[in-house]
Symmetry: C2
C-alpha cells in the first residue's frame, strides 16, 4: 500500500494505525500479524527503546544501541505492517485521518500508544537543571553530566566547587531513583577512583530524596527497608520524607534545607504525552485518557488508548501501574478486540490487568523482587532480575551484547560506554528532552 | 602531583605534557611508562577514538563506544600519568606553561599531537552541507543524515525529491571515500530494502567523486582498478577526474555538471589542527609544523610535534602519510628522545618512517592490501584487514565487541547501531564538527 493509494482509494483491508512503538504499540502490531488488516505504525523515533534499562545507559554500562532496536527491523517480516518515522501533529476524528509530517494516514481503527514524559508537578522550569530519564537522549545527556562532573572536579581547585561537583542528587525513590543512585555510587566509589590523580572520587555524595515515608512504595515494607540498607552500604545517603521545593543549576531546595549539587536527576513523576489533547478526550490529573473497560475512548469505539496514555478502570478500582508488562497486556488486548470486530467474532470481555511482580536492582549484584507468591532479595534477586531483563530484551543480538556487557562489568568493574560526546554547551541544551508538543518533524 | 603543587613547586621529575590522545600522543605516553618523568596528557575529549573504523559508526555497523575508549581507562595503571580533559587555548613558551581550561600546566618537554581536521580547500562554508569524518560526533551526524534520508524518502511522494533523497555523493576517492561508498551501497541495496514498503531503496544512487585519475592513489594501479570494479559491482558510480566546485544543501556542482543529492560526505582533504599557531611555528600548506629531523620545532628543542600536526622531513624527501602507524612511530620516537635526554644517554638518530602498508576495505567481504612485498585482494584481503584492525583496537573488550558485531553483520546482513538520535534541526547543527579553535572548555 503506497501512501497516495491509501489516501484516495478504499483499502482492501481495514486500516489500523498505531501511534507509538513502545511496549504497548509494538505488542499490538505484532499481535495483528495474522489478521487481515493493514497496519501502519507511526513513531517519531526510528527505534523502540527498552526503557527499563535506560539507567544503565545513563551510568555508562550499556550503549544506546544495546537497548534500542530499529522498529523497521523488528517488524521487517510482518508484511501487513508499514512503519513511518514521523511526528504526529493531530488527529481528524471526523475524516479518520492521522496527520503525521507531510502525510495524512487514514484509519478504521486507531491505537494511541504515545507513552509518558517527566512531570515536574507544574514546575517545567526545573527540567533543564534536573533532567529525567525517559528517552535515549535523556540517558546520554545524564551520562554526559555525570562524567563531566568528575572531569571538572579533577580540574577544579576551589574546595566549595569541588564539593558541589561531587554531589549527586536523585529526586524520587521509586525503582528508577533507586537504580540510578546505586549505579552512580558504584561508578564514583568503585569504577573510577583509580583513574583520577587530583581528586578522590570516593568523597562523592550521592543523595536519594523521597517525599514519601519509604523507598519503593510498591514493594512490601521489609523489601523497602532492605533496599535502603543496601543503598547505604554502597554509600548512598537516603532521605525519606524529604520533598523538593525547587531545582536550579546549582542545587535543590528541600523541605529540610538546601543541597548544593553539580548533578540533579529527576525520577519523581510522569505525565502522559498529549495524545488526549488531539482528541479532546477526558483525562485524569496525570494527563491519561479515561478509557472504557475495553480501552476505547468513550463515544469513539474505533479509537483505543493503551500504556501510559491510558487510565483504564479496573474491576477492583486499583490503578494499572505504568510499567512495561501493563502496556504489553493492553496492546495484546486491543489487538484481540480489533481482531474480533474485523472477523465478526465475539468481542472479548473487559480488559483485566494481571500484575506479574515488581523488580528493582541496587548496584552490581543486589536486587529486590516481589512476585505474587515469592519475594527475592540480594544476589538471588539480582540473578532473577538479570535473566528477566535479558529475556524481555527485543532482538537476540541485543540479548548477547547486554549479557556480555553485564558479565564484563561484573567481573572487571569496568564500564564500557563512558563517552562524553557533544560537549558543547548548546549541544547539552539541544539534547534536552523534547516534549511531544514541539519536536522536529521528519517530513 | 596536584595541579596546585605543580604550579608552585619544582617537580621531582621532569614534566612532560602531551596535548592530544590520538595514536601519536597515546603511544608517547605509554612509551614513557618506566621513565622517571611526570606525564600529563591533555585532550578535549575523554576518549581515544580509533579513527580507521569511524566509517563503520557512520554506516551503523558499530556503536561509538565500540571504537572509543576512555583515555583514563587506557592509562589507569600508569602511575606517572595524569589525564586532564580540557581544551588547550594557548602555550606560553617563555614560562613553559600550557593553558588548558582553568589551569596552567608547566612543562619541561611538550609534545603536540593534536591531529587534523577536514580541509575544504578554502571553502569552509561547505562544511555544513558536506560533513567530513574525523570524530565520533561526525560519524553519528553522518549516520543520522543517511538514515533520515531513507526515512524521508519513505514519506515523500514528490518524485524529484524522492530521487534527490536517495542520491548519496562521497567526495574523495581515498580509503575513507572508498569505504564509505561501499558501506552505503550495502546498507541501501542489501540491508534495508526489505524494511520499507513505499520506497525501493535499491534505486539509490551512490556516487564516488575523485578529482584525480584513479581511486586509492597510494596503491598500485591494478589494485585501484580492482577496487573500482568491486565498488561498481556493489552499485557505486565511480567518477574519476571529477572535481567538486561547490557544495550546498541540495547537491554538488562538479567539473562535469551538477548532481542533486540529499547526502554529501566529504572525504577529500585534511588540514592540521592549529597547534602551529600557538607557537607561531613555520608550517606547510596543510598547516603542519615543519619539524627538524628529531621532530622538535626549530629553535625549541623542548617542543615536539608528531602525527598529523607535523610535517617531518624524511631522508628520501618523501612525505610521511597521515595514518595511524606513522603517528604511533613518531610518538614512540619522541618518547625515546625524551628518555635519552632525561637519563643523559645518547640521543637517537633522526626519525625514520617505516611504511608498513596500505589497506582499504570495499563493502562486507572485499579489501585491498598493499604491503612491502605482498599484495592481497578480495576475501583474503578482507580477512587480513579485519584481523589487523581487531588487533590494533585498544582494549580487549572492544576487540570482542567489534569482532562480534562484524560476524553478526557478516552472517545476517543486519546492522546493530541504526539509531537516529538527536533529530532536532538545531541538534544537527550542534553536532557539527567543532574546530580546535572554538569548542567548549571543560573547566
Amino acid at each position: 500500500m503506497s501512501l497516495s493509494e491509501a489516501s484516495v482509494s478504499p483499502a482492501a483491508h481495514p486500516r489500523v494505525v498505531i501511534i507509538g512503538a513502545g511496549f504497548g504499540g509494538l505488542e499490538a502490531a505484532k499481535a495483528l500479524r495474522h489478521v487481515p488488516v493493514d497496519v501502519t505504525v507511526i513513531d517519531r523515533h526510528n527505534y523502540h527503546c527498552f526503557q527499563p534499562l535506560l539507567y544503565q545507559v545513563a551510568t555508562a554500562t550499556l550503549s544506546p544501541s544495546d537497548i534500542a532496536w530499529p522498529i523497521r527491523g523488528i517488524l521487517r517480516n510482518q508484511r501487513n505492517v508499514t512503519v513511518l518515522m514521523a511526528e504526529v501533529t493531530g488527529v481528524n476524528t471526523e475524516k479518520r485521518l492521522v496527520h503525521a509530517g507531510p502525510v495524512a494516514v487514514p484509519y478504521d481503527y486507531l491505537v494511541l500508544a504515545t507513552g509518558a514524559t517527566h512531570s515536574y508537578f507544574g514546575h517545567d522550569e526545573w527540567a533543564d537543571a534536573a533532567p529525567g530519564l525517559k528517552q535515549i537522549e535523556d540517558a546520554t545527556r545524564i551520562r554526559r553530566r555525570i562524567l563531566l562532573a568528575f572531569e571538572k572536579a579533577e580540574l577544579t581547585q576551589d574546595p566549595t566547587e569541588h564539593e558541589r561537583l561531587l554531589t549527586f542528587v536523585i529526586v524520587g525513590g521509586g525503582p528508577t531513583g533507586v537504580e540510578m543512585a546505586g549505579a552512580i555510587a558504584e561508578v564514583a566509589c568503585q569504577t573510577l577512583p583509580s583513574e583520577f590523580r587530583n581528586v578522590d572520587l570516593r568523597q562523592s555524595r550521592i543523595l536519594l530524596l523521597e517525599a514519601g515515608p519509604r523507598l519503593l512504595a510498591a514493594f512490601p515494607e521489609d523489601l523497602s527497608a532492605y533496599a535502603q540498607r543496601e543503598l547505604e552500604r554502597l554509600g548512598v545517603e537516603v532521605r525519606t520524607g524529604t520533598a523538593v521545593t525547587r531545582c536550579d543549576s546549582h542545587g535543590v531546595e528541600t523541605s529540610s534545607g538546601r543541597i548544593e549539587a553539580g548533578t540533579i536527576i529527576w525520577a519523581a513523576g510522569v505525565v502522559a504525552s498529549p495524545a488526549a489533547r488531539w482528541l479532546d478526550a477526558e483525562r485524569d490529573k496525570a494527563g491519561r485518557i479515561k478509557v472504557a473497560s475495553d480501552l476505547t475512548i468513550p463515544g469513539r469505539p474505533e479509537i483505543f488508548a493503551i500504556g501510559d496514555t491510558a487510565a483504564p478502570v479496573t474491576a477492583d478500582g486499583r490503578p494499572v501501574p505504568g510499567i512495561a508488562p501493563a502496556a504489553k497486556q493492553m496492546g495484546g488486548y486491543v489487538a484481540s478486540v480489533i481482531t474480533a470486530r474485523v472477523s465478526g467474532h465475539t468481542v472479548p470481555g473487559p480488559f483485566r490487568y494481571r500484575h506479574q511482580g515488581d523488580l528493582a536492582t541496587i548496584g552490581r549484584k543486589v536486587a529486590v523482587v516481589k512476585l505474587k507468591h515469592v519475594q527475592l532479595r540480594g544476589f538471588v534477586g539480582w540473578v532473577f532480575w538479570g535473566v528477566a531483563h535479558i529475556y524481555f530484551l527485543i532482538g537476540i543480538r541485543n540479548r548477547f551484547v547486554v549479557a556480555f556487557n553485564w558479565l564484563w562489568n561484573y567481573f572487571t568493574f569496568q564500564r564500557g560506554a563512558r563517552l562524553i560526546t557533544e560537549t558543547g554547551p548548546a549541544a547539552q541544551e539541544q539534547a534536552a528532552p523534547q516534549s511531544q508538543d514541539a519536536p522536529e518533524r521528519v517530513g
